[in-house]
């Protein structure tokens, strides 16, 4: 690891980095991921001098090979949390998908009613009605998904929409 790149990181800590420093640091991280540990040590010195709490382990997202094998609890927690987030998102998506399917099945059942009532209408009109209903459901699903994602970002809790039965009763 060259001194230059460490100098770049030191300048970056001070808000004095140049474009070249950024390129140099990113390149070094790609070539030699363990550089992060050394930079973390430098950042600890700065924190200690300034009287900030010093975090023992870097809270970075990417893992260096040595960190992978070194079983460090905070990193495991990182991965665990990202994994948990993934599971939560998957569960939310599954619930929404099944709710959507339920809605679709229900709406298909319901569609029998207008079809009977409008037996004399043309097939095109019935198809248009079904299409509009389908699009409305898709829009609702999209909205709920966006809402759940947004809520996950802002509150840390994944919002799982309730079954969409209320839509049917309205």
């Amino acid at each position: 690891m060259s001194t230059k790149v460490n100098e770049s990181f030191s300048a970056f800590l001070d808000g004095e980095a140049t474009e070249l420093d950024i390129q140099r640091m990113l390149k070094a991280m790609e070539k030699e991921p363990s550089v992060v540990s050394h930079w973390h040590d430098l950042s600890k010195v700065q924190a200690a001098i300034q009287g900030d709490p010093v975090l023992d382990q870097p809270q970075t997202l990417t893992l260096t090979p040595e960190q992978e094998t070194a079983s460090q609890p905070p990193r495991k927690r990182w991965r665990l949390r990202v994994f948990q987030g993934g599971i939560a998102a998957a569960v939310a998506a599954l619930v929404m998908t099944s709710a959507g399917l339920q809605l679709q099945v229900a709406s298909n059942d319901q569609s029998a009613v207008p079809v009977i009532a409008v037996q004399n209408q043309t097939t095109e009109q019935v198809q248009l009605l079904t299409q509009q209903q389908y699009e409305a459901q898709q829009q609702l699903e999209r909205f709920l998904r966006e809402h759940a994602e947004q809520a996950a970002f802002t509150t840390g809790h994944v919002v799982v929409p309730a079954p969409l039965q209320w839509v049917e009763t309205e």
Partner: protein
């Protein structure tokens, strides 16, 4: 020497394009500062580290929505205070700062250091660390010591330091880095275990 740039914004843009290393650099730069904000709101040492992690995870997930209107630190600061607030609420406690409801607090005093809040044990550890630091700093060659002192204690820019020391900015950069590395080597044993002890003694 080329121009200093808004490195944070450049790294945010790279992270938005899917480069996690760019985000990691921001984490390395701000993790202790974020811990400092959180530790002013939450006293449990284990919770502080968890909240810092959670804040950065939230920030990474939401990075695509960061437009750059505010500084990155302001943004992560808000995420961290909200995460700390959620944590306190989930524990059934009313989030507060210096006796004020957290919702009424517009800014947390970032100049307030840990010693202002520490327990007697924490104060002792902090005092020992400071004494150790002073010894290490005093033992540095003068050019390194002056450069680091002007930067860390006086908060001067590299440009100002270069004028005061009548030396090129490149030399200032190099001196500050060499000083930090020397301090890190001297304090390695202390600083390596500092994270746990430091946080543990806060409560």
């Amino acid at each position: 020497m080329s121009e200093t740039v808004d490195a944070d914004l450049i790294l945010v843009r790279k992270a938005q394009k899917g480069d996690p290393r760019a985000f990691d650099l921001l984490v390395l730069k701000y993790q202790h500062k974020v811990a400092s904000v959180v530790s002013k709101l939450v006293s449990e040492h284990d919770a502080v580290e968890d909240i810092v992690q959670e804040s950065f995870i939230k920030a990474y997930r939401a990075i695509s929505g960061f437009r750059g209107d505010a500084q990155f630190f302001t943004w992560i600061y808000r995420i961290a205070t909200n995460t700390a607030k959620n944590h306190l609420e989930s524990m059934g406690r009313k989030p507060s700062y210096r006796g004020q409801n957290l919702d009424d607090v517009t800014q947390i005093d970032m100049t307030e250091k840990l010693h202002d809040q520490d327990s007697p044990d924490g104060l002792l550890a902090r005092s020992q660390l400071e004494q150790h630091l002073q010894k290490v700093l005093a033992a540095l060659p003068e050019d390194l010591r002056v450069a680091l002192t002007l930067r860390e204690f006086e908060g001067m820019s590299y440009q100002d330091i270069s004028e005061i020391m009548s030396t090129p900015i490149g030399t200032v950069r190099s001196r500050i880095f060499r000083a930090r590395e020397a301090v890190e080597q001297e304090l390695h044993a202390v600083v390596s275990g500092l994270g746990r002890r430091d946080l543990a003694q806060m409560s």
